[in-house]
């Protein structure tokens, strides 16, 4: 579905990604992990065609992505932006409805099916209590959920997320993760998420891709990828800290969800 073939990306001559080979198949759930500045967000931008590789190729369903019109890409890839600024007062439901733009009739606008998809996304992410509010007045975490709902409304076969949980409290972090798992299980949506939290990544994602200094270091199950040596070498922390912190997490998951 998504194939990266020897992708190298450079900003102002400085390579940020080097020779990345990566394949993401339909219905997979993949977390991109790695330290700050490793190139995870750039990798996401390369997958969506926002940055063009200096060498190598990104293919979407077999076609090089730069040959596809943006309207067609938007029906296959939904992207949850990290944050976004709104210039005008905009209600939560109006922001979520923007996810339907790729499906709307360009002349007539939203149809009943689009409105139904917007309403379903609002319910699925649990934003019913925020309807009618100006999205600019919400907390950072609430805005993150609104943007997540927008991408859910977009209903593309692949959902890409850049740090979807940074501003969320523990309950909503777990809630967002369970939503991703549900989208993956029930709708068959492939999920590709950049995550910092190694515990969340290994609990909810069967496949981890570890990036460091622009290179793909490891690709596999959490147990295969997060070895003691890698935690020490790549993240620069004593692995025992991560190991001791991890047992705390399952307790948190038992917290009842909204």
């Amino acid at each position: 579905m998504i194939e990266l073939d020897g992708v190298t990306v450079a900003y102002h001559g400085r390579p940020v990604l080097r020779d990345i080979d990566l394949t993401i198949r339909a219905g997979e759930r993949v977390a991109l992990i790695g330290p700050n500045g490793a190139g995870k967000s750039t990798l996401l931008r390369a997958i969506t065609g926002l940055v063009r590789p200096a060498t190598g190729e990104v293919r979407l369903d077999g076609t090089p992505i730069e040959r596809l019109p943006r309207s067609m890409i938007a029906r296959r890839l939904a992207v949850v932006p990290q944050q976004a600024a709104l210039p005008f007062a905009t209600r939560v439901e109006e922001v979520v409805a923007l996810g339907r733009l790729p499906h709307e009739d360009p002349i007539r606008g939203a149809r009943p099916a689009d409105r139904a998809a917007t309403a379903a996304a609002i319910e699925r992410v649990g934003l019913g209590h925020l309807l009618g509010r100006d999205a600019r007045e919400l907390s950072l975490g609430e805005r993150q959920l609104v943007l997540l709902a927008l991408a859910v409304a977009q209903a593309a076969p692949v959902l890409l997320l850049d740090e979807p949980t940074v501003h969320l409290d523990l309950r909503h972090q777990v809630g967002a993760m369970e939503l991703l798992v549900d989208l993956n299980d029930r709708d068959g949506t492939a999920i590709v998420a950049v995550l910092h939290d190694l515990a969340l990544a290994s609990l909810f994602f069967p496949r981890l891709v570890l990036i460091d200094r622009g290179r793909l270091i490891a690709d596999g199950s959490p147990a295969e990828v997060l070895t003691d040596e890698r935690i020490r070498d790549v993240f620069g922390v004593d692995p025992s800290i991560v190991r001791r912190a991890a047992p705390l997490v399952p307790t948190a998951i038992e917290t009842p969800l909204a």
Partner: protein, 363 residues
């Protein structure tokens, strides 16, 4: 908006569907109908009132006679018909055309530049048009093209040349496209303003004519001006409306718009060109009228939300009605500049609305 939003139960999809886009479509229709009624009122009053008052009945009868060939018994003097048909009607219609054009262009510029302070003149259109008009006044050539004065033609060309220059220059350098566009607009505008000051300094006795153009007004409006402006404004505004989707996509920023399937670079170039064409057509016939293009889009957004498919037509109606009424007021007050009227009526109204509405910039 109401207390019902504090709903404790998990809303079912049907309920959400009814409330999604919480502003009901009926409200849009109601505002649209109200706007059209205001437009009709402005048309009749604008034709009836003036130094010579004409009874609304006669006004309607003359319009019915000339427009539809209806003969309702000619009870008016021929000069009344001249005043209605040749002087006041084209003037009112020109004011409406310019008002609609400025409001649509303002909506488009605010959406494209993602800046609530943008107005139709943000990319140098105003200074370009002003310099063009001043040059037309200063050069010793007098010509009329299809009843269309040199001053209008030069203003139109100046406005378009200014935007084109700003757009070309803004694509050089490493700034983000939006910042670069705004800063280039400011720099080029300042340079053109210097040229305008020089032209005014050199103009001698013609200074008043340049000044009259800068203040804006419809006292010279006739069928020729309307015939030149209306097709450009209508065509440009219609094409902008057809691309309303790109304005919606840009609400969340350029990157988000790309992810929503908008080819941002191409759409921005097309929309900037269309909005500039509409602005140039408007300023060429009316001179520089501020406020309408800045404020009308905001008023409409406060009522119906930011969706461009709703905002654009309502802004066109609102801008047309506002400027027609403002021109009527200007006329009744003894031909004072219409820009003064739009600012004096509009600014306090707008300020009071802003005070009642939460404003902010960040999402």
């Amino acid at each position: 908006m109401t207390a019902t939003t504090a709903d404790e139960r998990a809303p079912r999809p049907a309920r959400i569907a009814a409330r999604a886009f919480g502003r009901p479509a009926g409200r849009v229709v109601a505002i649209g109908i109200g706007g059209v009624v205001a437009l009709g009122t402005a048309l009749v009053l604008g034709v009836a009132l003036g130094t010579v008052a004409i009874a609304p009945g006669d006004t309607l009868a003359i319009l019915a006679h000339r427009l539809f060939g209806l003969d309702v018994g000619a009870t008016w003097a021929p000069q009344t018909e001249t005043i209605v048909w040749d002087l006041r009607l084209p003037r009112v219609l020109t004011a409406m055309t310019v008002g609609a054009g400025l409001a649509v262009a303002g909506t488009a510029f605010q959406g494209l530049l993602r800046n609530p302070l943008a107005d139709p003149y943000v990319l140098g259109t105003a200074s370009g048009a002003a310099l063009g008009a001043a040059i037309a006044v200063v050069i010793p050539i007098r010509a009329t093209i299809l009843g269309f004065g040199l001053i209008h033609a030069f203003a139109f060309a100046g406005a378009l040349a200014a935007v084109f220059t700003v757009y070309r220059l803004s694509r050089i350098g490493g700034l983000s496209p939006l910042t670069s566009l705004l800063l280039t607009g400011y720099a080029v505008g300042s340079l053109l303003a210097a040229g305008l000051a020089m032209a005014m300094y050199l103009s001698g006795a013609a200074l008043r004519q340049i000044f009259a153009y800068l203040l804006g007004g419809f006292d010279t409006a006739g069928w020729a001006q309307l015939g030149a402006a209306l097709p450009l404004v209508a065509l440009g505004s219609g094409l902008i409306l057809l691309r309303a989707r790109s304005l919606d996509g840009l609400l969340l920023g350029e990157e988000a718009a790309v992810h929503l399937g908008i080819d941002v670079r191409r759409e921005r170039a097309i929309m900037l060109a269309l909005a500039s064409l509409v602005t140039a057509a408007a300023v060429a016939v009316s001179g520089l009228i501020g406020f309408v293009g800045l404020v009308v889009p905001h008023l409409v957004r406060l009522a119906v939300g930011p969706g461009a498919r709703r905002v654009l037509p309502l802004a066109a109606i609102g801008g047309a009605a506002l400027l027609a009424f403002a021109d009527l007021a200007a006329r009744l007050l003894g031909e004072i500049p219409v820009g003064v009227v739009t600012a004096v009526i509009g600014a306090p109204f707008f300020l009071s609305l802003l005070r009642r509405t939460r404003t902010g910039y960040e999402l």
